[in-house]
Every structure is written in C-alpha cells, then in structure tokens.
C-alpha cells in the first residue's frame, strides 16, 4: 500500500506560507540581516580556500599559453616605458591647467571596498559563475547599476541586485551585464558592451565608418548615471567587419582576471 503523509505536509506548508508572509511584511528583515552579517566573514575565509583551488586550476590550463603571453607582455612593457615620459609631461601640464581654472575632477569618487564571499547566482545546475556575491548591500548605500572595480581599478562588472548586507555583481562576461563604453581610437567610438556566453564581452552596432584596431583600450564612457568615465574595461581582441554588413562588432578582452577576484571596490553614487 502506498503511504503518503498528508498531515505533516500541510502543517509544514503552513509554516512555509507564514515565513514568506513575514519576509514580505518586513518582520524577518532584521533576522536576515543578522544572518548575513554573521555569515559574511566566515564565508569570505571559506571562499578564499575555494578561490585558491580555482586559480590553480585555471593557471594549470593556461601554462601552454603563458610563454607566448610573456613575450607579448614584455613587448608591451617596452612600448609603455617609451611612452611613459611623454605621459608624465602631459600629466604635469594637465594638473597645472586644472589648478588654473579650478576644475572639479569629476572622476574622483567614493569607493567602498568589499569582500567576495561566493560565486554563482543560484543553487543547482543551471547556474553560471558569471556573478559574484559581495558582503556589502543596501544598508551600506549600494544599489543596482553601480560599477565594481578590482584592486587595480579595472571594471569587473556592475551590481545587479542588493539585499541588506550582500549584493550580486554581474561580471563583464555575463549576458546580464551591459556597460556603456568608449574606445580610445581616432573616432572615440561609443557603444554598449554586453557579456556573451560567459566567456567574452562584445560591442555591437558599431558603424562601418569607424576604425577599430586590436589592443585599442576600452574605457567607460560616462553616459551611465553613477558610473564615471575613463575607467578601464579591457582591450579590443577581435574586430568583425564585413563590407556587406550594415554594422561591425568587436570583442573585448577584460583587463581584470575575472577568475581570481577576492576583494573588489564599488564606486558609490555621487
């Protein structure tokens, strides 16, 4: 005979409904905040262990490409060193001019450092690891749409959801992340960079008349509220330009290593 326990199930179903009601009414809010606050420091430590294994795994997979990458980087360092002297000269001139006209530096903003406590946005198979969870939330002044930077000041993503003490950050390679960018080229091409397949970031609908080169620097354009311009996003990795198409598109290689994030900074609204 098939046994089904209806009595217990209905009692616990009522508990479920009550808990959901208490959450949406706000009564459970302080309890949730307390659990998040207690859990975050320990989750950060546990995350550090998992992140260590994750980094080693991706490093092992990349050993074959490391020597090639090393040669490219050495060449870049030499080119950058040559340009550095000129940059210093321009910087000094810029500071003198700003001082003269008392120009307010709109790129200076407040930053809130945060620890990464997890990756992935939901339990189960259908989750992707193109999101990170940080230990700061709406109680700390965070809201959707704020830019998140790594320890070197490169953009890694945007906040997409907040709770009292934690927030979800969609990384640049997430299909949910859309960022207004501009390319450092002659035409100062602007566009919207969108994550694709969890692997790369793409700018679509670039006019055919604009010329993009591989390794062109991509920065935030400043056209979004709360995201200042001039933050480095990545470099152009590939340009798809067909003469019989209306538009061209370009793939961006993020500067930041999105597989190895432990401490990030959130740019607070002005």
């Amino acid at each position: 005979m098939i046994k089904i326990r209806f009595k217990n199930i209905s009692k616990y179903g009522a508990v479920l409904v009550l808990l959901v009601f208490l959450h949406y009414v706000g009564i459970l809010g302080p309890v949730e905040s307390l659990v998040q606050r207690i859990s975050s420091p320990l989750m950060y430590q546990i995350y550090g262990v998992g992140s260590f294994f994750r980094s080693r795994y991706y490093e092992q997979n990349d050993i074959a490409g490391l020597s090639n990458k090393n040669r490219i980087l050495e060449a870049q360092v030499r080119a950058l060193t040559a340009g550095q002297a000129e940059m210093i000269k321009y910087k000094e001139e810029n500071e003198r001019l700003r001082g003269m006209i008392s120009f307010f530096d709109e790129n200076k903003g407040k930053y809130l450092p945060s620890n990464v406590i997890s990756r992935s946005d939901h339990l189960g198979t259908a989750n992707d690891d193109q999101s990170i969870i940080i230990d700061k939330g709406s109680d700390d002044g965070l809201k959707d749409g704020l830019a998140v930077l790594d320890h070197e000041g490169n953009v890694v993503g945007k906040i997409s959801d907040t709770k009292e003490k934690i927030s979800r950050v969609d990384l640049l390679t997430s299909s949910r992340c859309k960022l207004a960018v501009s390319v450092v080229n002659a035409e100062r091409t602007i566009g919207v960079a969108k994550g694709e397949l969890g692997l790369t970031t793409r700018i679509d609908f670039i006019p055919q008349t604009e010329i993009l080169h591989k390794e062109d620097l991509v920065l935030t354009s400043g056209l979004e509220i709360d995201i200042p311009r001039g933050l480095s996003v990545g470099r152009i990795d590939q340009v798809n330009k067909e003469s019989n198409e209306l538009w061209q598109d370009a793939y961006i290689r993020p500067i930041s290593n999105l597989n190895d994030l432990s401490i990030v900074s959130v740019i607070l609204p002005r």
Partner: protein, 178 residues
C-alpha cells in the same frame, strides 16, 4: 533541548557555507554539486520525516537569504523534494542499501532541477532583465556532472558513516559476497 537545537543550527550553517562559498567556487564539475540535497537525504535516513522537514525549512530559509530569487523559492523546493524522498524511501527504495541511497539522491537531483528550471522560466516572464535558463548542451552537461558529483558525494558520506560508527551498519545493508 536548546543545546541540540543550537548544534543542529550550527551544522546546518556549516553545510550551507560549504556549499555556497566553497563548492560553488570550485571549477569544473565540483561547482555542480548540490551538497544540501545529499545532506537532506541522510538526515531523512538517520532521523525521521519531522526532523528532516525542519532541516529542509532551515536550508530553505538560509538559501533564500543568500540567493537572489524570490523569497520562498528554495523553501518550497526543499520541502517538495523531501516529500518525494520520503515517498520513495517508504514505498520503493526500502532496503536502505548504498545503491538505493544513491538512486534516491539521483532521482531527487533530477526532480530538484526540474522544479528549479520551471520556476526560473516562470520568473523570467515577469523580470525581463533576468535571462531564462535554456535546455542547451551546456545545461545538460552540467546536469550530468551534477548527477555524477551528487552520487559520488552520497557514496563518500555512506563510507564515512560506515567507518565512523558501527551503529549504522544494520540500517545500511551492505551485501557482501560469500
């Protein structure tokens, strides 16, 4: 009684932190493990349905606090899956051997993914910014790796139980060849 409650709460939190901050961070197949489901199966086996339901509620609440889906999503799913586990244990997988426990966890994993997937597609109708999961090759391969990892975790915990304590042996029938 309160002492036992505190111990249960601490173990529950530790299991959740292990899932959320360690397993989900690992690369490859490890991140597809649903350790909470495996723990729920063993709690049901070792105790009774009443205690297991409280564990399901505990896991559900803390999952809803730390994941960004509508509150009640994981509460409901864990209760549903636990009822399914209880039904299977009471009527089909009654011998409580290693193989039946692994089968229980695998069926529960499939049911969990089915309910989770359906709910996510439903939420995507009301929230255009959320991308709905699609049944793609990537999803199916993740599902397969999740099944393998959950089965492996189940078998691993079974052998740890058998090594750690003699009192479980009459419950976990391990048929030896003669």
């Amino acid at each position: 009684m309160y002492y036992k409650l505190i111990i249960h709460a601490i173990i529950l939190l530790l299991c959740f932190w292990f899932q959320r901050s360690f397993l989900e961070v690992l690369p490859g197949w490890f991140s597809d493990t649903n350790f909470i489901l495996v723990i729920l199966a063993y709690v049901l086996l070792v105790t009774d349905m009443k205690k297991a339901l409280w564990w399901a509620i505990g896991f559900g609440i803390i999952s809803d606090v730390f994941y960004f889906l509508p509150f009640g999503h994981y509460l409901a799913i864990f209760i549903i899956i636990l009822c399914l586990m209880d039904f299977l244990l009471s009527n089909l997988l009654t011998d409580r051997s290693l193989y039946s426990i692994v089968a229980l966890v695998l069926v529960s994993t499939l049911a969990f993914e089915a309910v989770n997937f359906t709910a996510m597609r439903f939420y995507a109708l009301f929230s255009p910014s959320e991308s709905a999961a699609a049944v793609s090759l990537t999803y199916l391969s993740s599902l397969l790796s999740g099944l393998v990892m959950n089965g492996a975790a189940t078998a691993g915990i079974f052998y740890i139980f058998n090594q750690a304590t003699q009192s479980f042996k009459p419950v976990f029938i391990n048929k030896k060849r003669r």
